[in-house]
């Protein structure tokens, strides 16, 4: 029982990452009709925003300490981050420790600019092109982006830790009357879950309650009519693309302490996020969220030892198996609309 | 006994009775129009005839064989061709290829793995298709991209694609919808010409009374899912029930 509760929590947490990535992907697809294979790269860029901020905070003054030796036997160059020099060691250290949450503020403008530039510079030329072309060009872009990151940051994952206050884990089990240590969950992952819920709610609220959102939703349903009303829907769609980039980027920023950022992480999430979006139904925002959580939970259950003993290897394929079953039972995914991307 | 017999067909969508006790008999070699105001059930009836919808009760038979539960391509293979409201053609292919496809379908059936034959060597098929194009005055456009044709030509092409299969029954779903008067008249002439040249049964679902009275030999009036009356055009014109059904909206 405790295992099931634990894996359920786990699944929700996993699912929140899936849902967040799928949300951005669906926004882009739903508004612009573009299949964006560079979405994983946007997620990766978000994670590297956190890395960059951490790098900025740890920019250091170098002093030579003759009492210590470096690996070549020369006097050791001691590096002290400027923030520690300016704000004192304690304050400085905590600024560095808080670089991931602070990176949210840092990432929003950067991702907005990247998203805007991507849409204006490349994506807009592909609205009327076949999906295959969109896939190829965005895939090319994804490769280019990740290679650029590789040139700057190398291929090795970069440790990016959460603030120390969030270290350790919370004991759910005690609350529910289990023994101590049976159901524990790390604070940071709980924060990630809450964070994703907030973002998802914010996006929905934005689309539902603002005029901008209403126009965009109308545009998603019927682009031509909205265009005929004299509303410049293209401009709004550009902004939507930039927003989707921000959502992907923030998902990446907050994910950095869970999965150390590396240049390839976007590709690792790419296939998965498409599976989530399609299972949810192309173009359906609630579908993407639902599918994200559903697949997260199923994946967690599949990795339980009891399940693996019956079906060895099931945790390797559960996502795909679920996708196949759902698509065969529900032709357009969980909440997909007829005629969207079926030709 | 008609070529197409519809008996006691009922179809419900939730609370809406779309078709109610429909009985219809289309006689061989006639032009039979089905008219009625919006929401009368014309489209539903058409979809039942082509196998897209299965009625809740009743039967539909073509030349004595039931068509219920048959796939659209099976119904076509039985000899029913359909013309759509907006012409459905193969936009990426040439005009000639558009006509060749139904030729092959007519000869080879719903599926054949003729992967190692060559289209160019099928001289019989090509002759047939070219003759058909000549019939509809499109022979000079045979190498054009179908998508680049004018709307009227697309309609002609679609007609040619249906006729080349020598169907026993041609279903026309509002063939002049959205057309300008001149195009509508062209289409009427084309249909008349077609009818004059061969033995064919046509069932026209139409809104436009001008088209209906120019072509139809018999007319069925549908209202609220049920046939109101079936008669010759002359008799329909004077029928008060029909006027009432249209509430003066029709240009009768």
């Amino acid at each position: 029982m405790d295992q099931i509760i634990l894996q359920f929590i786990n699944g929700l947490d996993k699912g929140s990452a899936y849902a967040l990535i799928a949300l951005g992907l669906t926004l882009i697809f739903g508004t612009l009709g573009v299949v964006n294979f560079a979405h994983g790269a946007l997620f990766m860029l978000g994670a590297f925003c956190a890395v960059t901020l951490q790098r900025i905070f740890t920019l250091s003054a170098e002093t030579i300490d003759p009492t210590q030796k470096d690996f070549l036997g020369n006097p050791l160059v001691v590096k002290t981050p400027y923030v520690e020099l300016w704000f004192g060691p304690d304050m400085g250290a905590s600024v560095i420790h808080w670089s991931v949450p602070l990176a949210i503020l840092f990432a929003i403008p950067i991702m907005l600019v990247i998203g805007y530039a991507m849409e204006r510079g490349l994506i807009k030329h592909f609205y009327k092109r076949p999906h295959a072309d969109q896939i190829l060009v965005t895939f090319g872009l994804a490769i280019v982006l990740q290679e650029i990151i590789k040139q700057f940051f190398g291929a090795n994952p970069i440790p990016t830790s959460a603030p120390p206050v969030f270290a350790g884990s919370f004991d759910f089990g005690v609350l529910l009357g289990f023994d101590a240590n049976t159901i524990i969950y790390p604070y940071w992952r709980m924060i990630y879950f809450l964070f994703s819920t907030v973002i998802i709610a914010a996006v929905f609220a934005f689309l539902r309650f603002t005029t901008f959102g209403m126009v965009v939703r109308a545009g998603m349903a019927d682009r031509e009519t909205v265009g005929l009303l004299g509303i410049d829907i293209d401009k709004r769609f550009t902004i939507m693309f930039a927003l989707a980039a921000v959502v992907a980027g923030l998902a990446g920023v907050m994910y950095a302490p869970i999965n150390s950022p590396n240049y390839h992480m976007g590709m690792d999430f790419l296939v998965l996020s498409f599976v989530v979006v399609v299972v949810g139904g192309m173009g359906s925002l609630p579908g993407a969220i639902l599918a994200g959580y559903l697949l997260g939970v199923l994946e967690s259950f599949a990795s339980m030892n009891a399940v693996k003993e019956i079906l060895p290897g099931i945790d390797q394929i559960v996502l795909y198996l679920t996708a196949i079953i759902i698509l065969l039972v529900r032709p357009r995914g969980l909440m997909g609309k007829r005629g969207v991307m079926e030709d | 006994m008609g070529i197409l017999e519809v008996k006691n067909v009922n179809k419900r969508f939730g609370g809406l009775q779309a078709l109610k006790d429909v009985n219809l008999s289309i006689m061989e070699n006639t032009v039979h129009a089905i008219i009625g105001p919006n929401g009368a059930g014309k489209s539903t009836l058409l979809n039942v005839l082509v196998g897209k919808l299965i009625p809740d009760t009743g039967s539909v038979s073509f030349q004595g064989k039931s068509v219920l539960g048959c796939k659209p391509y099976e119904i076509n293979q039985m000899g029913i061709s359909r013309v759509f409201q907006t012409p459905e053609i193969y936009g990426d292919l040439s005009v000639l290829e558009n006509v060749l496809i139904p030729c092959f379908a007519h000869r080879d059936g719903a599926f054949r793995l003729h992967a190692l034959e060559t289209v160019e060597h099928e001289t019989g098929m090509i002759e047939m298709a070219e003759k058909m194009l000549l019939d509809v005055n499109m022979q000079d456009k045979k190498d054009m991209h179908a998508a680049s044709l004018s709307r009227g030509d697309k309609r002609r092409l679609e007609m040619a694609m249906c006729l080349v299969q020598e169907p026993k029954l041609l279903l026309l779903d509002e063939p002049t919808a959205g057309m300008a008067r001149a195009d509508t008249n062209n289409t009427i002439d084309l249909l008349k010409e077609i009818k004059a040249k061969r033995d064919i049964t046509m069932a026209i679902i139409e809104h436009d009374m001008h088209v209906v009275f120019s072509l139809a030999e018999r007319i069925t009036v549908l209202a609220q899912g049920t046939p109101l009356v079936e008669d010759t055009p002359e008799n329909i014109k004077g029928n008060p029930k029909v006027r009432e059904a249209y509430l003066g909206t029709a240009e009768v």
């Binding site: 390797q316 996708a323 698509l327 | 099928e122």
Partner: protein, 402 residues
């Protein structure tokens, strides 16, 4: 000739000549010149181009004609490879049984996957194929290790039974005793040309595959496949059942993939699970689009350019660059090398990504379109001609999402 019209016959002959003279064409630079680095005329690369050309040709029969975008074709390639290696292990190192089994098994496998996946269309179809291929890959990599030898890859071992081979038989994949790995090297005027049995074997099969694909393109069946792409609704109401047509195309392209997989194993008897990964499926999609989907020669060109880039560009390291630019003064030399080395050696993937973007943006019809533009440029004054590849879709109709 061979059921082809004059123009196609000419086209086929050109393709045959190009294929036969590949050892020369891909080896244009003399051994000691700085450009020797760009020579690609060694057996492995030439054979890979032929093999991936077959793979892409088959994929094109599905994607180029019917428009169904499969993201799981690498699974059939993998199945073909595994089947072939098992034949090598159990039966004989002669390549024929291996390749025949590879084709049969991949046909069965693609029939199964196609039957299920083709119940859906558009992106739903793509994801179904992707999911099945990715499942195959993951299982092959882990749980199915007894069958696939997992990460290491299935390989031929000296203690395999090989019941049809005698003790004196060749120890490597062979054509009735003629080993595929044997080559003649011809050293002339500082050029070394390699004529490899394996390459020519692949080349002959590739030509046959090309011929078959040409026949399919020109057949009523090919016409029906293009009809599937354009308008399935009309097809249905024309008395044609699109499903078996699409399934047949799927199986045929699966068999092409299996053939390619079998040939890969014949050239190098090791079958790794990675060749079933989604990236491998993506690669064939890219080859096809890059070259020109729906054209006959495009996929082969795409396969050739990607394999060439992967194998040649990744080997241009900084030392090579320094050699090339040694005539420049040191500072400038370092700068030039630094810039170029972003795109070569370990940066080869960057070049690949840029190439995709440039080609798709500026040449929507792929490399074939580029070629045609060039030909048109040179033939301005001559007769109006569409270029050397009589393709069917000069301008693919945009199908925008509704």
């Amino acid at each position: 000739m061979l059921g082809l019209n004059k123009r196609d016959t000419k086209f086929l002959i050109i393709v045959i000549l190009l294929t036969l003279f590949t050892p020369f064409l891909m080896q244009p630079f003399s051994e000691n010149s700085a450009l020797a680095q760009f020579n690609g005329g060694y057996p492995d690369l030439m054979a890979k181009v032929a093999i991936f050309g077959i793979f892409a040709m088959g994929f094109n029969i599905l994607f180029g004609l019917t428009g169904y975008l499969s993201f799981g074709h690498a699974a059939f390639l993998g199945v073909g490879s595994y089947a072939a290696v098992w034949m090598f292990k159990l039966l004989t190192l002669n390549v024929f049984p291996a390749i025949i089994l590879a084709v049969i098994l991949s046909a069965v496998f693609s029939l199964l996957i196609g039957y299920i996946s083709l119940r859906r269309s558009g992106i739903y179809f793509s994801i179904l194929t992707l999911a099945m291929a990715e499942m195959s890959y993951r299982l092959a990599y882990s749980v199915l290790t007894p069958l696939t030898n997992g990460e290491t890859g299935l390989q031929v071992r000296p203690n395999d039974p090989r019941i049809l081979d005698s003790a004196t038989s060749a120890n490597y994949p062979n054509l009735f005793g003629l080993e595929l790995s044997s080559s003649y090297k011809w050293d002339v005027l500082n050029h070394v040309f390699t004529f490899n049995v394996g390459y020519y074997f692949c080349a002959v099969i590739a030509i046959i595959a090309f011929y078959i694909s040409m026949r399919i393109f020109r057949s009523p069946f090919g016409l029906m496949l293009r009809a599937v792409k354009t308008n399935q609704q009309r097809m249905n109401y024309t008395g044609l059942n699109p499903r078996p047509y699409t399934l047949a195309a799927f199986v045929i392209s699966g068999m092409y993939a299996g053939l390619a997989g079998g040939l890969l194993a014949a050239m190098d008897p090791l079958a790794g699970a990675e060749r079933m990964q989604w990236t491998a499926s993506g690669e064939v999609v890219i080859m096809t689009i890059l070259g020109g989907a729906g054209t006959l020669l495009g996929p082969v060109l795409g396969a050739g350019s990607i394999k060439y880039l992967e194998n040649i560009f990744s080997k241009i390291n900084e030392n090579v660059l320094h050699d090339w630019f040694s005539f420049l003064p040191t500072g400038l030399q370092d700068a030039v090398v630094w810039v170029l080395s972003r795109f070569t050696g370990e940066g080869w993937a960057l070049t690949l990504g840029l190439l995709f973007m440039l080609v798709v943006t500026f040449l929507p019809g792929g490399l074939v379109e580029g070629g045609q533009r060039l030909v048109r440029l040179f033939r301005r004054r001559g007769k109006p001609d569409g270029g050397d590849d009589p393709q069917h879709h000069p301008d693919p109709a945009p199908h925008v999402a509704e």
